[in-house]
């Protein structure tokens, strides 16, 4: 990104109507390791790449259970993600306590977005540097949302965020039309294959990814390494060429997130503010 004279604090507009600090926060999301979400009519799968800092350390947790019916995968500043997950858990449990009923995920996502917006309009705060893929169930079925540091949120059939997520997005774009009617197993397989796309040639092993599932009759939980490896074994018999890594990534902008009709491309443009995607 370029140096700008209007980027010192979040409450300064640029002459072209941009808040650079917010855009820089969204860059932080792109630097984090990849997270992927997909949904069908009845299930949502969240998956992420686990890259440890060094061989000596363990990897960071990027997928959190918010409630039996809501889970979140993050990319970006993990610390910010952890704090927001705690907020989400708190909102969810308070709602359950008062109404003895699960908090509709659509409402949680709006609370989260409003919280993020506050940080874009206070001079003494900074935006959260984390993108959240929130998957959950409510009365109207399964939903997948993406919350970004700008305070915007969008609903998706499938989405990927973080570094090299474009490869995963390209894979998902080819397949997303079938996801609504997918079985649970196919959805998990598609998630793991999308993860594979972001690894760009590295062999896919179950130790490199975390996969979680929630559904109409299934509380949110992480899949164990064995189950993941079994799915990998069904397609990773011969390491395949990354045929979609070279596809272009400048796609036309759609208007703000259409509900459940597909995903957005176009990360990496320089003329339009990313927050407007």
């Amino acid at each position: 990104m370029f140096r700008n004279q209007y980027d010192t604090d979040v409450t300064t507009w640029s002459p072209t109507g941009r808040l650079f600090q917010v855009e820089y926060a969204m860059e932080a999301v792109k630097q984090g390791s990849a997270a992927i979400g997909l949904r069908s009519r009845s299930h949502v799968v969240l998956a992420c790449v686990n890259k440890a800092q060094s061989e000596l350390s363990s990897h960071q947790r990027k997928i959190f259970k918010v409630d039996d019916h809501i889970g979140v995968a993050i990319a970006g500043l993990t610390a910010d993600g952890r704090v927001l997950s705690r907020y989400m858990r708190s909102e969810s449990i308070n709602h359950s306590f008062t109404y003895e009923s699960p908090l509709p995920v659509g409402r949680l996502v709006v609370h989260l977005a409003d919280k993020a917006q506050v940080c874009t309009q206070r001079s003494w705060k900074r935006p959260y540097g984390v993108g959240l893929l929130v998957g959950g169930l409510d009365e109207s079925g399964a939903h997948l949302y993406y919350n970004c540091p700008s305070g915007n949120y969008f609903e998706y059939q499938a989405f990927a965020i973080g570094s090299r997520s474009q490869a995963a997005k390209t894979y998902l774009e080819r397949r997303f039309e079938s996801f609504q009617e997918s079985s649970r197993e196919d959805l998990i397989k598609d998630a793991i294959m999308a993860i594979r796309e972001t690894l760009q040639g590295e062999t896919l092993k179950s130790s490199l990814c975390t996969v979680s599932v929630l559904g109409v009759d299934e509380a949110f939980h992480l899949l164990d390494q064995e189950s993941i490896q079994k799915v990998i074994d069904t397609f990773e018999k011969v390491p395949e060429e990354e045929e979609d890594a070279g596809e272009g990534d400048a796609e036309p902008e759609a208007a703000t997130g259409a509900a459940g009709t597909g995903e957005q491309g176009g990360s990496g443009d320089q003329d339009v503010a990313p927050m407007e995607i």
Partner: protein, 246 residues
Amino acid sequence: MTTFTVPIDNGDSVRIAEEESQRTLYPYVTGTSIVAIKYKDGVLMASDMGGSYGSTLRYKNIERVKAIGKHSLLGASGEISDFQEILRYLDELTLNDNMWDDGNSLGPKEIHNYLTRVMYNRRNKFNPLWNTLVLGGVKNGKSYLGMVSMIGVSFEDDHVATGFGNHLARPILRDEWHADLSFEDGVKLLEKCMRVLLYRDRSAINKLQIAKITEEGVTVSQPYSLKTFWEFSSFHNPTAGAEGSW
């Protein structure tokens, strides 16, 4: 009893005003029993339209059963002003719920639990809402019927009754309620309970409403009266067995 003092400076001297904190000590205008049952298509709830001021039957046109949102009915016995306060809370709650406009809505279970929280919290502050509430409703084909008392005791059941109804209506309901009552049988059962209450509860009046809630919505009947029979032989000469008494 907590009192606190507020010093007031009126120029010459300082007077101290004592303010006793306001909390409910006893009810003033009260409604009597509510009786409600689950039936085939939903829930039926009956109440009379009386508001007693102590032993005087002062108000005869009080609606003690109200529709809440799209899916619920709330009936109350006890202090009428507290019932009106609760209706205001629920109005705010359902308004905010509607404003989300997102395909989700609060069902009877959620409202029942919300009310339980409210009643229990007030009880803990020694400032109760002096009501026993009956919450019935239907959502997504499932019927729901529950009760909350002024001390926050809360439960669900197939048939409930408050006040005198606890003693007079419950035994009838236990004997004669069964699942999948038709609308006509449900109304007959409720009327049987209400008739006993009319004979035996001195704060009951002969003007009642029966409200029905089904998946389609709420209907509250027009007020009507029950037929009563007073020609029992022992009523003709009640002191026959004990001359001089009444």
